[in-house]
């Protein structure tokens, strides 16, 4: 898949794992997020759609990423997301790795602010929905930058 693999950024780039939830097969969102992250100088492992939580957990333990990004749009993001976060956070090695979720998370247009609380309680650091999701996420990445810059030296 040469044309969609991001070229390796110059210098050691911080590593992110990108994944969907077990029930979601949409991939355009994943491709978009992969490109976006690599343009921000991240190296990305894109696990693709319909990722079983155990697969994500094992990949994360093995790769120890600086960031885990979950992207989903099928409307099951809240339900699958809560289980996913709890499973990952239960692993000591993954207890503090930054982990965010975004996309279209329920079947009503992701308007309910209530679900964000539940997702955060389950272990997500940030939840990005609606028209400003991408801008907000870019801001979040910038705020992370000091840590990643240190890592690079």
């Amino acid at each position: 898949m040469s044309h969609i693999q991001p070229s390796t950024p110059e210098g050691p780039a911080p590593h992110a794992i990108l994944s969907s939830i077990p029930s979601d097969s949409h991939t355009w969102n994943l491709l978009f997020m992969q490109l976006l992250l690599s343009e921000q100088n991240w190296s990305v492992t894109n696990l693709g759609p319909c990722v079983p939580v155990e697969v994500l957990r094992d990949e994360a333990v093995a790769r120890q990423p600086r960031l885990i990004v979950i992207s989903t749009v099928n409307g099951h993001g809240c339900q699958d997301g809560v289980r996913l976060a709890r499973t990952l956070r239960a692993v000591p090695a993954l207890a503090t790795v930054p982990m965010v979720l975004g996309g279209k998370l329920d079947v009503d247009g992701s308007k309910a602010a209530t679900m964000t609380g539940e997702l955060r309680d389950a272990g997500f650091d940030e939840v990005f929905v609606g028209g400003s999701a991408v801008t907000d996420f870019l801001g979040y990445l910038r705020r992370m930058a000091p840590a990643t810059a240190t890592e690079r030296t």
Partner: protein, 426 residues
């Protein structure tokens, strides 16, 4: 009652044969709700819409991937699903939900996007439903990570089981989803080829009533040419099978404004009517955002039916080579094996079939596409496809902005249209 060998009835099959005879475009929603009472009301509203309609049960994502425990958890917790969980509800429950709704005057199809559809076919057959949708490629590559080999085997088994309904006097119907392939940015010839190949796959399993799909893309003239090509190849390759063409309203990133969304479905209806398609699947004004309501579905059905009325025939226009490309793809695949399923697996392994921007591990990923200045969807790289190269292979680096621009081409065009002004009342 004894059933004569040739006196099979299929609700969906018979309804479509009659509609085609009377030249009525059938319109159909992509509707699916988890709550049985809402699902039932949705079907009744579909039946009552001012249009010739058939009903749909669109299944939820957990059922699609076979996670029936997650369905149970959601039903227990009262969390909403994105479709109807037909397996967990069981046939008696679904029969009761459909009682007095499903009938010869209102057939129902199950749409599900499942790469391993065994349990779903068992459930729909036991629920008295005789029409579904899918295919060994089109329900695999865009729908997750199941290896193509497993999906082909699972669809072969499910297709045979469905075909066996014929021994009981039922004529089952299957629609290929091959005309969609990721919804967008897959050039028309590939959609036509996969649709025909999946139709043939089903015919060889003994299914005698199929529909071949094609999804509206970026340019109406190009779409008309593709639909004509699909008809030509189907006529050649599916003798003895009752088939029709079903058009999907645009399956990619959808306009978010009301006028844009309804304008696009109206254009799809004109395209369907003007090119002699028999059925149209609509999209609603809520498509860009969330699962549509019953009222939004009915609105889309009626907008489509109105637009189709008196739509002028669309000639297929200049030949840009879609039929030729599609024929080369089909011939190359069928040359690989006498068994269509085996040929499809081999074709993806060799890159004879290769879907642009598809992340599935069994897709070679050496092709790419672009939208030309005049709005046509063309190959920019053909990899190992057995078709003429479109010129020197372009290796423009894909960026997030470039991708989003291509994905939102249709959306931007329709959202930018001037909305119709309400007439002033003097």
């Amino acid at each position: 009652m004894t059933i004569r060998p040739n006196a099979r009835t299929g609700r969906f099959h018979d309804f479509m044969v009659a509609a085609r005879r009377d030249r009525r475009l059938v319109v159909q929603p992509r509707m699916g709700f988890d709550h049985p009472a809402v699902m039932r009301s949705g079907l009744i509203a579909t039946r009552g819409a001012r249009a010739t309609t058939v009903g749909t049960l669109t299944l939820d994502s957990f059922t699609r991937v076979g996670d029936f425990a997650a369905v149970d958890r959601a039903l227990d917790a009262g969390t909403r699903l994105n479709g109807y969980p037909i397996v967990n509800y069981g046939p008696a429950f679904t029969r009761a939900m459909l009682d007095g709704v499903l009938g010869a005057d209102f057939p129902i199809q199950v749409r599900h996007g499942s790469s391993l559809p065994g349990r779903i076919f068992e459930a729909l057959i036991a629920s008295g439903i005789d029409a579904s949708e899918g295919g060994p490629v089109s329900y695999c590559l865009p729908y997750g990570r199941t290896p193509l080999r497993r999906t082909v085997a699972a669809w072969r088994a499910a297709g045979r089981g469905f075909a066996a309904l014929r021994e009981q006097g039922v004529e089952p119907h299957i629609e290929t989803f091959g005309g969609c392939m990721l919804g967008q940015l897959c050039p028309p010839a590939m959609l036509v080829a996969i649709s025909v190949l999946e139709g043939l796959f089903f015919a060889r399993l003994g299914i005698a009533s199929v529909s071949l799909s094609y999804a509206q893309q970026t340019h109406p003239g190009q779409d008309a040419e593709a639909i004509a090509a699909l008809g030509s190849l189907a006529a050649e390759l599916l003798p003895g099978v009752e088939w029709h063409i079903v058009l999907y309203t645009y399956m990619g990133m959808y306009p978010e404004t009301r006028h844009g969304a309804l304008g696009l479905v109206a254009d799809a209806a004109r395209l369907a009517a003007g090119t002699g398609c028999s059925r149209l699947i609509v999209k609603t004004a809520a498509e860009a955002d969330r699962i549509p309501t019953i009222a939004e579905n009915v609105e889309a059905l009626e907008v489509a039916a109105r637009a189709a009325e008196g739509a002028p025939p669309i000639p297929s226009g200049t030949d840009t080579g879609i039929l030729d490309q599609a024929r080369r793809l089909v011939d190359a695949v069928l040359g690989l094996s006498g068994d269509v399923g085996a040929a499809l697996i081999e074709a993806f392994a060799k890159g004879y079939l290769d879907i642009p921007y598809c992340l599935h591990p069994d897709n070679a990923g050496d092709t790419a596409s672009l939208i030309t200045g005049d709005g046509r969807l063309e190959w920019s790289r053909t990899g190992a496809l057995p078709i003429p190269r479109p010129g020197p292979a372009r290796r423009d680096r894909l960026t997030s902005r470039g991708l989003l621009d291509a994905l939102s081409h249709v959306k931007r065009r329709y959202d930018a249209r001037i909305p119709p002004q309400p007439k002033e009342i003097p």
